[in-house]
Amino acid sequence: MTRRSLERVKLAVVNLFFILLCFAVLIPILYALSVSLNADNSLLSANFSFLPKHFTLRNYRAVFVDEPIMLWLKNSLILAVITLLVSLGTGIPAAYIFSRKRFAGRRLILNALVLLYAFPSLLSMMALYKLLTPMGLINTRLGLIIVYTGTMAVFALWNMKGYFDTIPLEIEEAAKVDGASPVQIVTRIVLPLARPTIAVTAMMILIYVWNEYIFAINFMTGSDTYTLAAGLNSLQATEMSGSWPVFSAASLVVSFPILIIFFALQKNMTTGLTSGGVKG
């Protein structure tokens, strides 16, 4: 066998593996898809098939017509975009500073941050509520945005700082010799190099805001302020009410925008560093 055909066999095997793996990974989601397209009002059945026996789009119509999903979408979008901007806007400078500068208290703060992240969040909600109430931030978007950015700030700072550490200082020094200003160095050199980590961090933040419902329900009471995740949660089939197929349909509808964003962001992650020069 020639080297080339060996390569080809290898690729075919890898492709087959990934096709099977993707199918296996998607089984629960295909399951939800099938339930959402099935006219029978049940999540479970003794003889399940991925192709619905009584095909219907009724559940999707129910999601779009009976529920104010566009309002939820708008609320989610506003929160997601602002949270993303604030998180990156505060996180990038902080991460950069913590990566490049050496100053008193730096080590302590970095060490403390991860530990703080480990605190069981079961209780912190009550405390947050008590904090935001006197500030008049309950039932306001600003309050929720502060909560979201604060929650993700540790991750953003820690994650991006780690990546900045791997970008060699020499590149910046060379630019400095060429007469670039500090701001230019960051925006023209560091940020493009750090695109993968910014993309990952942005993804994490987006997914968090998109799927978070506990704060969304409790800190913004009133169904006209529901986000997609909060609305989805209110559709949840409980013992007495709710419809599994509608819930499944809504779950898929909610996940779809995120999937598109994944796809869009992925290009950024793959073309991030081709110039080489990452220190080991």
């Binding site: 990934f18 059945s45 209780l123 604060g150 991030g272």
Partner: protein
């Protein structure tokens, strides 16, 4: 430059550093640190259903009571939590590494399609996924897994019934939820490695194993380290997977796979005694600090 101007410069640098990181640190203070301080404060009061607004300082009474929770059940839950974290992290890293490496094989045209499909689980709200797994996959009567087993002529399995199976099933779900992130991180790290390193290594006759051991791993380690550390803590405090799959009131499965958080939840949080449960949270937190301090002292790994 005399030492005085040096000192001045240093002070200016520090000020500059804090100024630029202030917004981020302030947010962290508000949303992360303050609640912990507040929890500490509640833990020395008698805030509970009977003293909701008129709670008062009762000193360390709650801590004294809380020591009762640290019984045998707690110790085995603690052991299980550590096992859970270790098993999940090891599997996560190995699987993510293998998959990310395969994704980076030269000539794989559909890699972006695979990438997007593989991270789909990440896009769904966690509780929805867990619900789907529980009722759709694991249900012993109607779950897909058992339907397939029966069709294949095998005995149906109680996926969440026994301790071992429940631990296994929870691990599968946790991996399903967590792998997309890990794959993305490692995938990104792999792509940042300069191809020329490999080329010269191949020229020198290095095997795949040697390339992995001496080039790939040392190269990606610093890049993925922060995400891995964060994930360790996320895994440690994972509550939803185990609670929703096996311990939810009304649909307990008979398996006892409590971690310290689900255990503390059943022993403290359901009492609506906030003072008491805060004391327990603070003690778990203190334990975490000791643990991470010990592990750091042992491995000297944290290269901050």
């Amino acid at each position: 430059m005399n030492s005085d101007t040096k000192k001045k410069k240093k002070r200016a640098d520090t000020l500059f550093a804090y100024l630029w990181s202030a917004p981020s640190l302030l947010l962290i203070f508000l949303i992360v640190i303050f609640p912990i301080l507040y929890t500490g404060y509640i833990s020395v009061t008698n805030m509970n259903v009977y003293h909701w607004n008129n709670y008062e300082f009762i000193g360390l009474q709650n801590y004294k009571d809380a020591l009762l929770v640290f019984d045998n059940g707690f110790l085995s839950a603690l052991f299980r939590t550590i096992l859970w974290t270790a098993v999940n992290m090891v599997l996560q890293l190995i699987l993510a590494y293998v998959l990310a490496s395969l994704l980076n094989i030269k000539g794989l045209r559909l890699r972006n399609v695979y990438r997007t499909l593989l991270i789909f689980p990440w896009a769904m709200p966690g509780y929805v996924s867990i619900l789907l797994w529980k009722t759709g996959m694991f249900n012993s009567q109607f779950g897909l897994l058992n339907q397939w087993l029966t069709k294949a002529g095998l005995e149906p399995v109680k996926w969440l019934g026994s301790n071992f199976m429940a631990f296994f099933s929870c691990t599968v779900v946790n991996l399903w939820l967590a792998l997309p992130f890990m794959i993305t991180i490692i995938d990104g790290a792999l792509q940042s490695i300069d191809r020329s390193f490999y080329e010269s290594a191949v020229l020198e006759g290095a095997t795949w194993f040697e390339r992995t051991r001496y080039i790939t791993l040392p190269m990606i380690r610093p890049i993925i380290a922060p995400s891995v550390i964060i994930t360790v803590f996320t895994t440690f405090k994972q509550f939803d997977v185990i609670y929703l799959l096996t311990q939810q009131v009304g649909s307990k499965t008979g398996a006892d796979i409590h971690t310290i958080l689900t255990y503390a939840y059943e022993k403290a949080f359901i009492t609506n005694n906030y003072g008491y449960s805060s004391a327990i949270s603070m003690m778990i937190f203190a334990m975490l600090i000791v643990f991470s301090w010990l592990s750091k002292a042992n491995t000297k790994e944290a290269s901050i």
